[in-house]
């Protein structure tokens, strides 16, 4: 009895010591992970997540202070990629629901003030002073900064219109577990 207790205690202590030493000696610098996370994020530094830019968000993600679903412009794909990188199970169903958005200028309201044009982090808005602005769709990340600064509510985020090129089949709905209707 005594022998068993002592031997197990000693064994535990030794193993604990080894683990402790290993944790210090083989400590991985967090920066590598942060850099990889920055690569996954959109990089438009829009700040919608509440952190200072994508690097700030990556830091928070690496330290576990933020959920993988933090990035609205990145959408579902980024959330899945982040979850895979961090090795966490994420409920991305909430993210999936938000449809991809894109900024659109309503020309009849635009006064050509260039404010949106100045805040756009990806230079996706084209135009000049006193001229109607327009959005370059391929560059817009739907960060919403332009919407905030527009004095006439001319710039609005709209769902990305479905085109023949981008359309694809929905996921089949099969009732394999036929639940009794309540």
């Amino acid at each position: 009895m005594i022998t068993a207790l002592t031997s197990l205690t000693i064994l535990g202590a030794i193993l604990g010591l080894i683990l402790g030493v290993a944790a210090r000696v083989f400590r991985v610098e967090g920066n590598a992970l942060v850099a990889e996370l920055v690569d996954i994020l959109p990089g438009s530094q829009c700040g919608q997540c509440g952190f200072p830019g994508c690097a700030g968000a990556a830091q928070a993600l690496a330290e576990g202070r933020a959920p993988v679903t933090l990035c609205p412009p990145g959408g579902r794909a980024v959330a899945i990629a982040l979850a895979a990188k961090l090795g966490v199970d994420a409920d991305v169903s909430g993210v999936q629901d938000s449809v991809p958005m894109i900024a659109e200028v309503r020309e009849e309201l635009c006064i050509g003030c260039t404010r949106c044009f100045k805040v756009c982090p990806t230079d996706a808005i084209m135009g000049a002073a006193q001229q109607i602005h327009s959005v370059f769709r391929e560059a817009c990340t739907a960060c919403g900064k332009c919407e905030e600064v527009c004095p006439t509510e001319s710039v609005k985020l709209q769902p990305v219109p479905v085109t023949l090129h981008a359309w694809y089949w929905n996921k089949p709905v099969t009732q394999t577990m036929q639940t009794v209707a309540a």
Partner: protein, 358 residues
């Protein structure tokens, strides 16, 4: 408006219900023959098995708040119970049948997620459970007493056998495999043990002690061929299983006939025919590819022969099937069809530059 339908806009005239119904149809001759051979108690056991499966499955579905009708209507629970009933001693008490059926549909099937999700064949899992838990009841056999013969129990007597456990004198008997195993343990050689006990013709025609599914080897064979003709099953697994038993039996009986029984003895005894054509062809628990099914069948056959020859139990089909069920995911992992334009490893075939015509 309905969602737009994806192609194909045609379907082969096949459904799960139809598959199950055809398998049951294929089992019918063997079952009727068994009923005739062992009389009312056998019918009782069969009815109790099926009833228990239906009620048990309905209960579980209720608990899961799932629709009951569509699942019961697919016929898979009934088929499981039917196969189990064919592997039980015909004069088994009612609670053996009920317990086995409930175990099969609830524990081995629905708890895993229902049809298609169970790793082990439910009927064989139930049989193994019963064999381990109630060896007495599961190995008490009777000699056949065809309906209408002097020894056959009447309807009331049959009810008494099944439900009160009353025994009819002079009927108890041992199955062929069990008898040989017992004689071996007493140090009696094979030839002597078999003499007067085993006649291949009798075994073929079924007039001997055994379970319903054991005695009707010919009818089961016919049922299996019918399913192959209907393209419900393929030849790979059954043929492989028979090979797996016959080849070692041939070799060993040739080397030492006193210790090892010959292929015919193995083929016609125990649950081999039932196993080969109806158990290991269960789609859920067998591999996906033809090659995989062949390997699976071969393994089932070999294991059956090994357990019969050297194992502690006289019969090994159920154990062999369960062991190979466990190996099915591994077989599926390693045996995959080759994709068009790729080699076995999935790498694209090489593109050789064409020589210019001279």
């Amino acid at each position: 408006m309905n969602a737009i339908a994806h192609s194909p806009h045609a379907h082969a005239p096949i459904s799960v219900n139809r598959v199950m119904a055809l398998v049951m149809l294929a089992l019918t001759p063997a079952t009727l023959f068994g009923f005739w051979l062992y009389g009312w108690p056998a019918i009782n056991v069969w009815v109790m098995s099926l009833l228990a499966a239906l009620l048990g499955e309905a209960l579980v579905l209720r608990l899961q708040q799932r629709a009951v009708r569509p699942v019961l209507m697919d016929g898979s629970g009934l088929l499981t119970a039917w196969l189990l009933a064919l592997s039980l001693p015909p004069w088994a008490p009612w609670w053996i049948a009920v317990l086995g059926s409930l175990f099969a549909v609830i524990i081995s099937k629905q708890l895993y997620g229902g049809l298609g999700q169970n790793p082990f064949n439910p009927a064989m899992a139930a049989r193994v459970m019963l064999l381990i838990s109630f060896p007495m009841e599961m190995t008490t056999w009777v000699a056949p007493a065809p309906l209408g013969s002097i020894h056959a129990p009447g309807w009331l007597e049959g009810l008494a056998v099944t439900f009160t456990g009353s025994q009819v004198d002079g009927m108890a008997s041992a199955s062929l495999l069990g008898h040989v195993k017992t004689e071996f343990t007493r140090g009696i050689g094979l030839e002597q043990a078999l003499s007067g006990y085993y006649a291949p013709l009798d075994a073929l025609l079924g007039s001997r002690a055994g379970s319903l599914g054991e005695t009707a080897a010919l009818f089961l064979l016919a049922g299996g061929l019918f399913l192959m003709f209907k393209r419900i099953i393929t030849w790979h697994a059954p043929v492989a299983m028979l090979i797996g038993v016959v080849v070692p039996a041939l070799i060993f009986s040739a080397v030492s006939p006193a210790h090892y029984a010959g292929p015919l003895y193995h083929l016609l005894s125990g649950g081999l025919m039932l196993g080969a054509f109806f158990i290991i062809t269960d789609p859920v628990t067998s591999p996906n590819t033809a090659t995989g099914q062949f390997i699976f069948g071969l393994g089932c056959g070999l294991l059956t022969w090994i357990i019969r020859t050297w194992g502690g139990y006289p019969e090994g089909v159920a154990f062999a099937v369960m062991l190979m069920n466990a190996a099915t995911p591994i077989i599926d992992h390693y045996v995959k069809p080759r994709i068009y334009g790729r080699n076995r490893k999935g790498v694209s075939m090489s593109i050789e530059p064409l020589k210019k015509e001279s």
